[in-house]
């Protein structure tokens, strides 16, 4: 049974099969992402009510929070892919991990900068060295370190192994980011959605937040597959199926 499952996975993860299937999935992800992001932005900017405490400045939440969620989600994808690649030697897992890194770095950058832009009018400071902000900054450095490590090692297989190990070790930072607002005194507000209790955000603000969060996920799905397809074409360039596609 296990053998049959592994055979299926290996077949599914074969570069040729992946290239064909992902080509079909990308347009769906991309269009759905575009619709969700436009709807979420309109809802977030113009329809959701003004916050009684923060005025209109809180509308930055609809970019800031989904971007911060993505920064952690993509890191977990990279670590899990890295582990899969190390354990089962599935090359495609390495491709997914390395294709994810720049996207994760971009979302981390967005979370940090939009947080800073939101912090200025609300806290009176662009930046404070508290636990949430500092651990998120470390996440950005982890992404950049991952990308630097990958390009510094010439042998692609050795690079993939080293990167997978870095990604797995770096996972320790993820719970630190999430719980930082509980463990340490901080200016940053606590969780309003991702907690076991009922979310303490009003439904009229929760809907655009979830639209944006889902839009960001699908956007990531489309972009990571596009990047992975490009990598597969290059690494498999001596195979007949690639020659047939290029023509």
């Amino acid at each position: 049974m296990m053998k049959a499952i592994m055979k299926f996975i290996y077949q599914f993860a074969s570069p040729k099969h992946f290239y064909r299937l992902s080509g079909k999935i990308i347009p769906w992800f991309a269009w759905l992402a575009a619709i969700l992001l436009i709807a979420g932005s309109i809802d977030g900017l113009f329809i959701a009510p003004v916050d009684y405490q923060q005025g209109d400045s809180y509308r930055i939440i609809f970019i800031h929070v989904p971007a911060a969620w993505m920064s952690m989600f993509i890191y977990m994808v990279m670590a899990i892919s890295g582990a899969i690649a190390l354990i089962w030697k599935i090359k495609l897992a390495d491709v997914i991990a390395s294709s994810s890194a720049p996207i994760g770095a971009a979302f981390t950058f967005l979370a940090l900068v939009t947080g800073s832009i939101w912090g200025k009018p609300m806290w009176g400071a662009w930046w404070v060295w508290d636990a949430r902000l500092t651990s998120e900054l470390i996440l950005l450095f982890l992404y950049l370190g991952y990308m630097a490590l990958e390009s510094a090692i010439e042998d692609p297989r050795a690079a993939a192994r080293a990167c997978a190990i870095l990604a797995i070790v770096g996972v320790i930072n993820i719970p630190i980011i999430h719980y930082s607002v509980e463990w340490w005194n901080t200016l940053h507000q606590g969780a309003t959605v991702t907690k076991l209790d009922k979310p303490s955000i009003h439904i009229s603000m929760l809907i655009p937040l979830l639209l944006m969060a889902l839009g960001f996920k699908l956007y990531y799905g489309a972009v990571v597959l596009m990047r992975a397809r490009n990598k597969v074409l290059v690494t498999e360039q001596n195979n007949r199926w690639v020659k047939e596609i290029i023509g």
């Binding site: 900017l45 113009f46 400045s57 509308r59 970019i63 967005l110 290029i246």
Partner: protein
């Protein structure tokens, strides 16, 4: 309408956040499309060179 765009007194903060997100996410999404074009061009040139050198070998 103008009032809506001004976002109270926070227009600059809100719009710069959304603008930045648009620029960053736009760049990240379009980069692989450009890369794909380059890869197709380079690989097709490489294959052409290979087939030409194969033909020459056969003729010789």
């Amino acid at each position: 309408m103008m009032e809506m765009l001004q976002m109270g007194k926070y227009g600059a903060y809100v719009w710069s956040s959304y603008g930045l997100a648009l620029i960053v996410m736009g760049y990240v999404a379009f980069k692989p499309l450009l890369d794909k074009k380059t890869i197709f061009k380079e690989l097709s040139m490489k294959y052409r060179r290979e087939s030409q050198s194969n033909n020459k070998q056969e003729q010789a």
